[in-house]
C-alpha cells in the first residue's frame, strides 16, 4: 500500500460546514491532515474558477460543502 494521500482543498460555507468542521474539532474527531479549508460566506459564492484554480495549483480534489 502506498503512503499517498490525496490533497484536498475544501470550500466551506461559513454558516454550516465551516461550523461543522469546528465542531469536529470540539469533538476531537480525527481526519487526515492533508486538507486545507477556505472559508466562504455561502456556497452560493462558489465560482467554477475557484475549482479550476485549486486543481491547477496541485489539489487532487476539491470539496465544496454548504
Amino acid at each position: 500500500m502506498s503512503d499517498w494521500e490525496p490533497k484536498i482543498v475544501a470550500f466551506l460555507c461559513n454558516w454550516c460546514s465551516y461550523g461543522a468542521a469546528d465542531l469536529a474539532g470540539v469533538g476531537r474527531m480525527e481526519y487526515p491532515p492533508h486538507i486545507r479549508v477556505i472559508r466562504i460566506p455561502c456556497t452560493g459564492r462558489m465560482s467554477p474558477n475557484f475549482f479550476l484554480a485549486a486543481l491547477r495549483e496541485g489539489a487532487d480534489g476539491v470539496w465544496v460543502s454548504g
Partner: protein
C-alpha cells in the same frame, strides 16, 4: 444518558456556550476523597478552584421569565415495555443521541445489546408517558412525539439504508405542525415507514437473542406478534419536581397537567403579575412554538419595563480610525498557543518564526492565550508601536473569536475588516493530534493563506441608517392587534391596517377557546384597548397598493374610503390571517342542517334554542384538510369540534353526538377535552381518506353512513345537525408578498426565516409575520405569535440606527449587462434596478438588505459584482498560496 462515559472534568456538550470545562463533583476523586487534584496542578492558567461553593445572590429585577423546560418521561416504571431490563428497548431521546453525528456512536445506529449489531427492524411506541392515566398521571398529549418518531424513522432509514424496516405503533398520528403532514405522507409513501394503529400489549425477549417480540392489539381488536431488533419508546414531556417546587414557592397556579397556567389573551403571563413563562413549562410544545413563546415572553417583560429601557446602558468611547488607504501592507501575525490546546500538537514558535518570512509581515509572535484581556491589550499596543495596518491571528475559529479580535483592532484605531484569522485549533491541532509534524505544516499553510488574503484586505465602511420609529401592522385580527398592542405598550407608533370596516378578523365568528374563555369578551377587550391607545392609528377599510423602501425606511401607500395616504414606517408585520374553506363535499349547501364549524359557532353565539332540542349531532373532520390538493392539517378543527360536541352534550345530555375523524389531534392539554367528551358520551368513529363518510337526504332525513373500523361494519347515523370541520385557508397574499418581497409556500402561507428558529420573521429584514398568515393556529398561539413578531420588530426599532455590514456585494455598473440574474436570485431582495442617471436600468445592491452570501457574485456573468471581504482576488490569493503546500 449513560450511553457513553465521560471524565469527571467535562464539557457539558459540544455546542455549549461558553465552551468551558466543569468538574462533576459526584465523580471527582479530589472532591469525594480529598486525593488527586491533578487537574489543578496541570492547568496552566490556574483556573481550577476546588473551593468554589454555591452562593446565593439577590438581584433586583422588574420582571421574571421562566423557561425551565421539561424532563423526558422515565419509562422504567412501565413494566410491560421492560425498558430497565432489556438492552434493546431505548428511549427516543437515547435514539436521538445515537442518530447524532457528534453522539456516542457518531450517528451509527446499532443495538445496545452485547452483539452491538446493526438493526434490521425498529419499532417506535407512541404515547409512552402521555395520554395515559393507568400507569402514570399524564392525561395530556405531549404534542411532539408523533413528529419526532416520524423524523427518527426517516433518518434511521437514511443512516442504516432503505432496507431498514421501521414501524410506528400509534393511536392518533398528530402531525399538526407546519409542513409536518407532508413529512408524514412522505415517510409513509416514499420512505415506506409502516404506521400501525394499535395499542402495544407487551415486549418480551426472544430466547437469548436479545431480539424483541412485540405483542399488540390492532384497531379491530385482533392480537398480533412481531419480532423487532430494537424498540424505541416515544416518551413524553413532564414538568420536573424541581420546577414544581419553584412554582409552588413562587405561588404560580398550575394546570391539571402540572404546567404553568396562562390565559389565551395573555399566553405567556403566569398567574402572578410580572412573572412570564415560555417553552414546555407553559405546556408541551415543539421548537417553533417554544421560540414564539420565548419572543412573546421577552415582549411581555419588555412591555412592563419599557419606561426603564436604556437607563442602565453605558456607551463605549470610540477610538478614531487611522486611514491606511494606499499604505503598503504591514501585517502583524499573532500565533496562539491556546494553553496546550494548540501548542501541545503544533510547534507554535516554529509557525510564528515561519510567519516572519512571509511577504508584508512586519511582526510575528506567539501568545499563551490570544483572547485573554492582557494579550488583547498587548496586541493593541503592538499594532500602534509597529504601525501595523493588517492583523492575522492564528488561533481558534473566527466563528467564535473574530468579533473579539476585531474589537482589538478597533481599540487600536484600525478598521475592523483589516483582520483575518487562521483556524489552527478547531481545524488543525484538535483533529490531528497524532500527526504533530503534519499539523505544524498545515498551520504554516493556513497562516500563509491568511497572510496572503490579509495583504489584499481593505478597510470597509458600515453605513449608518436611521430607523423610522414606527410600525405597520397589516391585518386587524387577534394576531395583528396583539402585535400592535405590544408595540404601542413599548412606546412605538403603530399603523394598523384592516381591509374590513371593523377589527376582529375571524375571531368574530368564534364562540369559546379551548380553555373555555368566551371569545367575544376576549375580543372586545382587545379591540377596546387597541382603539383607545393614542399610539395606534387604525386604518379601517383600507388596503395596501404600493410599498417602497426597505428595513428602517418603508413608504407604504394605503388606499381607503378617504382616498390614498402614504405611511412611513421602519418595520412591517404581516398578520393577514386566514379564511374558512367553503366545502362542496358532504352535501354542504343542500340542506340547512349541514353547517360549517364557524356557522355552528355563530348559532351558539346567537343562543339558538333549537340546538338544545336536537336528538343527534354529527361532526365530520378534515373537510378540505389533509387532502392531496391541500396536504396540511388545519390544526384547530379537532379541538374545535370536540369542544362544540361537549357544548352540545352539556346543553342536552340525551343528545347523540358523533365525531367522525381521521386522527384526533387534540394536542397538549387539549387532550383533556377529548377525554371529557368521551366521558360525556360523545362517540368517536374513525374513518380513512380512502373510505369517507357518505351523506344523503332520504325522505327529509339527513343520513350519514360511515364504516367503523373497530366494529368492522357500516354505521348509519341520523343527524339533526351535521357540522363540517372545514380547513383554514390562507388569504390571497400574492400581492402583499410581492410588495414586501417575501415568499409564500405551496399552500399559500407565508414562509418564515427559519421553520424552527425564526418562526415570526422573514428572511427579508424588517418584515415580520404572525397568526394564521403563518399557519393555522388557535387563538392563544396566534396572540403569542403577535407578541413574538412585535418582539422581533422591537429588537430593530430599539436600535434607532442600523449599520450595514461591511462584507456586502457591490455592483460596478459599468460592467453590468442588465441580465437581471442577481435581481431574480437574491433571497433577500437586495439587488434592484437603478432608476435614473447614466447607469439607469443597471443593477445596484442595497447594502442594508445584503447578507453578503455572494450568490449574485458567483452568478454574475459579467463579473460586475464584487463581494467585499471575500472578493475574487482575495479567495484566489488563498488558493494560489497553496502552490507551495499542495
Amino acid at each position: 444518558m449513560g450511553l457513553s462515559k465521560r471524565k469527571a472534568a467535562y464539557v457539558e456538550y459540544p455546542q455549549a456556550v461558553p465552551l468551558k470545562y466543569a468538574i462533576d463533583p459526584e465523580e471527582c476523586i479530589f472532591l469525594q476523597k480529598g486525593k488527586c487534584g491533578a487537574c489543578k496542578k496541570i492547568c496552566p492558567t490556574g483556573a481550577v478552584d476546588f473551593d468554589q461553593k454555591p452562593v446565593t445572590s439577590t438581584v433586583r429585577v422588574g420582571a421574571v421569565v421562566l423557561a425551565p423546560g421539561f424532563v423526558p418521561f422515565d419509562p422504567a416504571r412501565y413494566d410491560n415495555y421492560q425498558y430497565a431490563k432489556l438492552p434493546n428497548v431505548m428511549t427516543a431521546m437515547e435514539f436521538e443521541r445515537m442518530l447524532s453525528a457528534s453522539g456516542p456512536t457518531q450517528g451509527h445506529v446499532k443495538r445496545l445489546s452485547k452483539d452491538g449489531r446493526d438493526p434490521k427492524k425498529i419499532a417506535w411506541f407512541q404515547c409512552v408517558g402521555s395520554r395515559d392515566l393507568n400507569r402514570c398521571d399524564n392525561a395530556y398529549c405531549s404534542a411532539v412525539c408523533c413528529m419526532y418518531a416520524v423524523k427518527e424513522a426517516v433518518i434511521a432509514k437514511e443512516h442504516v439504508g432503505p432496507g431498514l424496516d421501521c414501524a410506528v405503533f400509534f393511536m392518533d398520528m398528530r402531525t399538526h405542525g407546519k409542513e409536518f403532514e407532508r413529512f408524514y405522507d412522505d415517510a409513509r409513501e416514499r420512505h415506506g415507514v409502516r404506521f400501525i394503529r394499535s395499542r402495544v400489549h407487551s415486549v418480551t425477549p426472544v430466547g437469548t437473542t436479545d431480539d424483541l417480540e412485540v405483542r399488540y392489539i390492532a384497531e379491530d381488536g385482533s392480537l398480533h406478534t412481531e419480532v423487532f431488533d430494537l424498540v424505541v419508546l416515544s416518551i413524553g414531556m413532564e414538568v420536573s419536581p424541581g420546577v414544581l417546587d419553584l412554582a409552588r414557592r413562587l405561588g404560580l397556579e398550575l394546570t391539571p397537567g402540572r404546567f404553568c397556567r396562562t390565559a389565551s389573551l395573555t399566553p405567556v403571563a403566569s398567574s402572578r403579575a410580572g412573572i412570564y413563562v415560555c417553552g414546555a413549562f407553559q405546556g408541551p410544545k415543539d421548537i417553533p412554538q417554544s421560540v414564539i413563546d420565548a419572543s412573546a415572553a421577552a415582549m411581555a417583560a419588555g412591555e412592563v419595563l419599557a419606561p426603564a429601557r436604556g437607563t442602565r446602558t453605558r456607551t463605549k468611547e470610540k477610538v478614531p480610525e487611522v486611514n491606511v488607504a494606499n499604505e503598503r501592507p504591514r501585517i502583524g501575525v499573532f500565533v496562539c498557543r491556546c494553553g496546550t490546546n494548540i501548542a501541545g500538537v503544533v510547534d507554535v514558535p516554529a509557525v510564528a518564526e515561519y510567519a516572519k518570512s512571509l511577504p508584508y509581515v512586519e511582526f510575528a509572535t506567539d501568545n499563551l492565550y490570544s483572547c485573554s484581556q492582557d494579550t488583547q491589550e498587548t496586541i493593541s499596543k503592538i499594532i500602534r508601536e509597529k504601525n501595523l495596518n493588517r492583523v492575522v491571528v492564528a488561533a481558534c475559529t473566527p466563528k467564535t473569536h473574530e468579533p473579539l479580535f476585531q474589537e482589538t483592532l478597533v481599540n487600536a484605531g484600525l478598521n475592523k475588516y483589516l483582520f483575518e484569522m487562521a483556524n489552527i485549533r478547531n481545524q488543525d491541532s484538535w483533529v490531528h493530534k497524532n500527526a504533530p509534524e503534519l499539523a505544524t505544516r498545515k498551520a504554516k499553510d493556513l497562516v500563509r493563506m491568511a497572510v496572503e488574503k490579509a495583504a489584499l484586505l481593505s478597510p470597509l465602511r458600515e453605513a449608518e441608517l436611521e430607523i423610522h420609529q414606527s410600525a405597520l401592522v397589516v391585518g386587524g385580527g387577534l394576531a395583528g392587534m396583539a402585535a400592535a398592542r405590544s408595540l404601542a405598550r413599548q412606546g412605538y407608533a403603530v399603523h394598523l391596517v384592516e381591509k374590513e370596516d371593523r377589527l376582529g378578523g375571524q375571531a368574530r365568528n368564534l364562540y369559546r377557546t379551548a380553555r373555555g374563555e368566551p371569545v367575544p369578551e376576549l375580543l372586545s377587550s382587545m379591540i377596546a384597548e387597541v382603539e383607545a391607545d393614542p399610539r395606534i392609528q387604525v386604518h379601517r377599510g383600507a388596503s395596501i397598493c404600493r410599498v417602497e423602501g426597505f428595513v428602517g425606511n418603508f413608504k407604504t401607500t394605503l388606499e381607503g374610503a378617504g382616498g390614498s395616504q402614504v405611511i412611513e414606517h421602519g418595520v412591517a408585520i404581516l398578520a393577514t390571517g386566514g379564511r374558512p374553506y367553503r366545502p362542496s363535499e358532504y352535501g354542504y349547501g343542500t340542506d340547512p342542517r349541514i353547517l360549517t364549524s364557524l356557522e355552528l359557532d355563530r348559532r351558539i353565539l346567537e343562543g339558538d334554542p333549537a340546538l338544545g332540542r336536537l336528538a343527534s349531532a354529527v361532526f365530520i373532520q378534515c373537510v378540505g384538510s389533509r387532502e392531496p390538493e391541500r396536504p396540511y392539517c388545519s390544526r384547530v378543527c379537532c379541538t374545535h369540534s370536540v369542544d362544540n360536541a361537549i357544548h352540545l352534550k352539556e346543553m342536552n345530555p340525551e343528545m347523540n353526538v358523533f365525531v367522525l375523524y381521521r386522527d384526533l389531534r387534540t394536542y397538549g392539554e387539549r387532550e383533556l377535552l377529548y377525554k371529557k367528551a368521551r366521558e360525556l358520551g360523545v362517540i368517536f368513529v374513525r374513518f380513512s381518506r380512502e373510505r369517507k363518510p357518505e351523506v344523503r337526504l332520504e325522505g327529509g332525513r339527513l343520513l350519514v353512513r360511515v364504516f367503523d373500523p373497530i366494529l368492522g361494519r357500516e354505521l348509519e347515523l341520523e343527524a339533526d345537525l351535521l357540522t363540517l370541520a372545514t380547513a383554514i385557508l390562507p388569504q390571497e397574499n400574492e400581492a402583499l408578498a410581492q410588495f414586501f418581497k417575501v415568499p409564500l409556500n405551496a399552500d399559500g402561507f407565508f414562509v418564515e426565516r427559519h421553520a424552527k428558529l425564526g418562526p415570526s420573521e422573514f428572511a427579508t429584514d424588517g418584515v415580520f409575520l404572525c397568526g394564521l398568515a403563518h399557519y393555522p393556529k388557535p387563538i392563544d398561539e396566534a396572540i403569542a405569535q403577535g407578541q413574538a413578531a412585535a418582539s422581533r420588530a422591537v429588537t430593530l426599532l430599539a436600535r434607532k440606527t442600523l449599520y450595514t455590514s461591511g462584507t456586502v456585494a457591490e455592483v460596478d455598473p459599468r460592467m453590468c449587462s442588465r441580465c437581471g440574474v442577481c435581481v431574480s436570485i437574491c433571497p433577500y431582495s437586495a439587488p434592484s434596478w437603478i432608476e435614473k442617471g447614466p447607469f439607469a436600468e443597471r443593477a445596484q445592491i442595497n447594502p442594508v438588505l445584503c447578507k453578503g452570501c455572494g450568490l449574485c457574485v458567483a452568478s454574475c456573468r459579467s463579473g460586475a459584482i464584487h463581494l467585499k471581504g471575500f472578493d475574487n482576488d482575495q479567495i484566489f490569493a488563498q488558493i494560489f498560496s497553496l502552490r507551495e503546500a499542495v
